[in-house]
Symmetry: C2
Subunit: 440 residues, 2 copies
C-alpha cells in the first residue's frame, strides 16, 4: 500500500535522482513559475502574424519545450495531422453540480516534505491547466487555468495508453481477444519481433522483455529511431528506416524473458493498438469513438495524432476535453455503467482494479508508486482506498478512488516530463481530498 504521509528513505533517494533535495519545491529550479509561464501572459501565437519570438511551430523539440509546452498541450492538432475521436451527433449528457469551495483549503503534506500545502496551492505547484473533481457522480470542483477552457482539448499524453488498455480489456472480457494468445497468432507481421513471442497479457501489462532504450541523452537510443518512424511528417530524402508505428514495432528485438519485470515502454501500447485494431478491424481512434466517446454523453469530440500512414498513436496521441475525461473516470468508477447504461461488463474494471504483478512492478523501482502495479495500462496503487489511475507525463491524471466515490481529472503542463517530480504534490493531495469528501 502506498503511504502518502510518510517520507521513506527510498522515496528520498529516488527523488534525489531528479535533482530534488530538502523540502518540496514544486517549481523546478531555474524555471518560470506556473503564473509566470501562463501561455496567455507569454503571448504565444498572439497577433496576425505573431512576432517571431512568440511563434510556436515544428520541430517537435521546440514546441514541446518549456514554457512553449504550456501552449502546445492545448493545440496539438494545429501542429500535426490528427484523427477525430467522434462523439457522434447525440446531445451531451450534462453533469450534475454540487460545487464545494472548501476543497481549496484541504491541506496535505507533500511526499517527502514537512510543510503543509493546500489543494489550491497544489494547482500552481503542479502547473495545472484544468482540474475536475467528481464526488458521488457530481462535480464538486472544476477549474480551468493555463491554456485550457471548458470548450478546449488538452493532450492526455500517456493516459492514451489507459484508453487503449481499457479497449483491450473490454475485448478480453467479451471473449473477442484471448489474453493468453501469442501476439504473433493475432498479428503475424510481429512474428520476428520481440512482441511475437509475448502473450497479449504481457503486452497489456508491459511485462515484455524488450531491447529498447529510452535514454534521451544517447543519440543512438531506440527512442530516436522510433520517433522518426512515428513522425507524421514526410520522411527526409534518402530515409530508409521504418515508416510508421507498425513498421517500427516489427524491428524491436527481445531482451530478457517476457513476464519477468514491468518495463514502462510506450511501444507496448502501440503493439496493443495494433492487436485490437486487427481483432476489431478498426483503428484505436475509431474504437475509442465507438466504444467510449459515443456512449458516455461526451460534449466534445476528442482526437488522436497519427503517423504518416494515418495510424493513431495508441501510446500517447489523445487530446480531449476535461469533462469528457471526467466522464471516462466516472465510467471506470461505476464499473462500466454510466448515465444508467451499461457500456461493458463489470469484470473489465474489476480486472483492472485487481492490478498486475506487484513483484514485476517493484523491479522497475517507482518510488512514488511503491507497492503498486500496472494492469491493462492503468496504474493501480493498491492503497486502502483501492485507487487506480491513468497517468501521463507533465502531470496528466484520471485518478479513481472507489472508496471515496471520487474521480479527479487533472490536466497539466509541468515543465518536467516525469511524474515522479509531480507526484509529491499531487498524490497526497488526491488522498487528502478523498478523505475530506469521505467525511462530508
Amino acid at each position: 500500500m502506498l503511504s502518502y504521509r510518510k517520507s521513506s528513505l527510498v522515496t528520498l533517494c529516488w527523488l534525489s535522482l531528479f535533482g530534488w533535495s530538502g523540502d518540496i519545491v514544486a517549481q523546478p529550479e531555474g524555471m518560470l513559475s506556473a503564473e509566470e509561464s501562463d501561455p496567455g501572459m507569454m503571448g504565444w501565437m498572439v497577433g496576425s502574424p505573431p512576432p517571431a519570438d512568440k511563434l510556436i511551430m515544428q520541430p517537435e523539440s521546440d514546441f514541446f519545450s518549456f514554457p512553449k509546452l504550456r501552449w502546445t498541450v492545448c493545440h496539438i492538432r494545429e501542429l500535426m495531422p490528427t484523427k477525430q475521436v467522434g462523439k457522434g451527433i447525440m446531445p451531451a449528457i450534462p453533469f450534475r453540480y454540487a460545487l464545494d469551495d472548501n476543497i481549496d483549503e484541504v491541506s496535505f503534506i507533500p511526499l517527502g516534505g514537512t510543510t503543509p500545502m493546500t489543494w489550491e496551492q497544489s494547482l500552481s505547484a503542479n502547473y495545472t491547466d484544468g482540474v475536475l473533481i467528481l464526488h458521488k457522480g457530481k462535480v464538486v470542483y472544476e477549474k480551468y487555468l493555463g491554456c485550457l477552457g471548458e470548450a478546449g482539448k488538452h493532450a492526455a499524453m500517456s493516459m492514451t495508453k489507459s484508453v487503449t488498455g481499457l479497449l483491450a480489456e473490454i475485448l478480453v472480457v467479451e471473449g473477442k481477444l484471448d489474453e493468453t494468445a501469442r501476439v504473433s497468432s493475432i498479428v503475424p507481421e510481429l512474428e520476428g519481433s520481440a512482441f511475437g513471442s509475448a502473450t497479449v497479457r504481457q503486452v497489456m501489462d508491459m511485462t515484455t522483455g524488450l531491447n529498447y532504450s529510452e535514454d534521451y541523452s544517447n543519440p543512438k537510443a531506440d527512442i530516436w529511431v522510433y520517433s522518426q518512424a512515428a513522425s507524421p511528417l514526410p520522411k527526409p530524402k534518402g530515409y530508409v528506416g521504418p515508416n510508421g508505428y507498425f513498421e517500427y514495432l516489427q524491428t524491436v528485438k527481445q531482451q530478457g524473458d517476457h513476464g519477468e519485470a514491468f518495463g514502462y515502454r510506450t511501444i507496448n501500447s502501440d503493439a496493443l493498438g495494433w492487436i485490437i485494431a486487427r481483432v476489431e478491424g478498426k483503428d484505436v481512434a475509431a474504437l475509442t469513438s465507438e466504444r467510449i466517446w459515443q456512449k458516455i454523453g461526451a460534449e466534445q469530440d476528442g482526437y488522436m495524432t497519427v503517423d504518416a500512414k494515418g495510424v493513431p498513436f495508441a501510446g500517447g496521441g489523445l487530446s480531449a476535453g476535461l469533462r469528457d475525461l471526467g466522464r471516462l473516470g466516472q465510467l471506470m468508477l461505476d464499473e462500466g455503467k454510466l448515465n444508467g447504461k451499461r457500456l461493458f461488463p463489470k469484470q473489465v474494471v474489476r480486472n483492472i482494479r485487481a492490478g498486475g504483478d506487484k513483484g514485476a512492478f517493484a523491479k522497475a523501482g517507482y518510488a512514488t508508486l511503491a507497492g503498486g502495479s500496472y494492469r491493462s495500462m492503468w496504474w493501480v496503487f493498491h492503497n486502502d482506498h483501492g485507487a487506480f489511475a491513468a497517468r501521463g507525463v507533465h502531470g496528466q491524471t484520471i485518478y479513481v478512488d472507489p472508496t471515496a466515490d471520487m474521480v479527479i481529472v487533472r490536466l497539466a503542463s509541468y515543465p518536467v516530463a516525469k511524474n515522479a517530480k509531480i507526484d509529491p504534490t499531487s498524490l497526497p493531495a488526491y488522498q487528502a481530498v478523498a478523505e475530506y469528501l469521505l467525511q462530508k
Copy 2:
C-alpha cells in the same frame, strides 16, 4: 440573368476548352464513375495497416488526385495540421424536417444538352458526397454518399472564401472595417505589395490587379511558390522563399489597374483573412467560430487547415458538416437571422445579394456564370430568383434561392476541379428544384 435552359455558343465554345463535346457526359472521359470510385468500394485506408496500394498519405499531389480525392475530402485533418472552428459547448439546434421523396424525380435539361436528367441522376453525375435541401427553413431532402456521413466533415474548398468574405462584410456593415480604405493602411506589411494600393473592397470583390499566374502546367507559375509557402510541412533545407500565407502575400506584385476586372485568385481571400484578423485581433478560424459556428446552433465543430505558422487558410481551408453548412445557408437566406436570433444586420446579406461589378465580372469569361458577378467572395447569379452561392472546386456549393425560399448545400468530389464541368448538371438542377418547390 443566367439562363440554364439555353445552350449558348459561348457556353459550348468554353466548355470545349475542358474537353467537352456533344451532349453532356457528366463522367469525365476515361474516369471511374461515381459508383466505381466510391471510396468505400475502393477500400482506401482500410486495414491495419492498409495494403500499400490502398494507402493515402502525403504528398498533396497524390492525396488530391482522383480517385483518392474521394476519400481525402472527408479526411483532410488526418493529412495536415488544422485549427478547430469550435461550435462551443451549447447543444445543437436541430432542423425541422418535411422530407419530400418526389425531389428525386425532378428533371432538368443539362446546360448545353438536350437529354433530360433527374435530380437523382445528377447526384451520381456530380460525384455527390452529401446534399441537403432546405425549403421554408425545413429539410426537404438529405442524402449522404461517398465518404460522407451525417457526423462527418467535408472539405468546403473555396466556399471558405465566402465565409471569409461574409466576416469582412459583417465588419464593414458594423463600421469596423472601411471598405474604401487602402489595404496598406490596415496591414502596413502589405505596403510594398500589389495589395497595398488596393482598397479593401477591391480585395473583397477580387478586382485587384495582380501579377499572379495559376497556370499549373508552368513549373515557374506563382501558384507553385504560393503552395510551397503555404504548406504546413517544415520547409526543405536551404529553402529561402516565403514561409506562410502572410510572407507570400508581401511578395505579390501589381499588374494592371485595381478595380478594372474580376480575377478569381485565392490570394485575395488570404489577404482579406489578414485584414480581418488585424482588425479584430483574431484569426479567421477564431472569428468563424465566434461570429458564426457558436451562433448558428451547429452540431459539429468545423476546422481549417493552417500554414506552418498556424495561420488558417482563409481561401480554402474549411471542413464542416453538411447540416452545419445548411445552417450557414439558411442564415444567408434569412438575412442574418437564425433560430429567432439576429446574428448580424440585414444589410450584410443585402450588400452581397446586390452583387458586384457585372462589367468587371464579364471580362473573366465564365460561360456558365454569364451575367453574374462576385461580391464579398460570394457568386451572384443575377437570375430572376435572386440566387447567390458559395462555390468550391470539385463541386462544392451553398446555393441560396430567396425567391424559392430554398437553400441547397452540395458537397462533392468530382474528378475535375473546375466547376465549369459540374455546372451543366448542377445549376439547372438547382433551378428545377427551386421551381418544383415554388409550385408546392
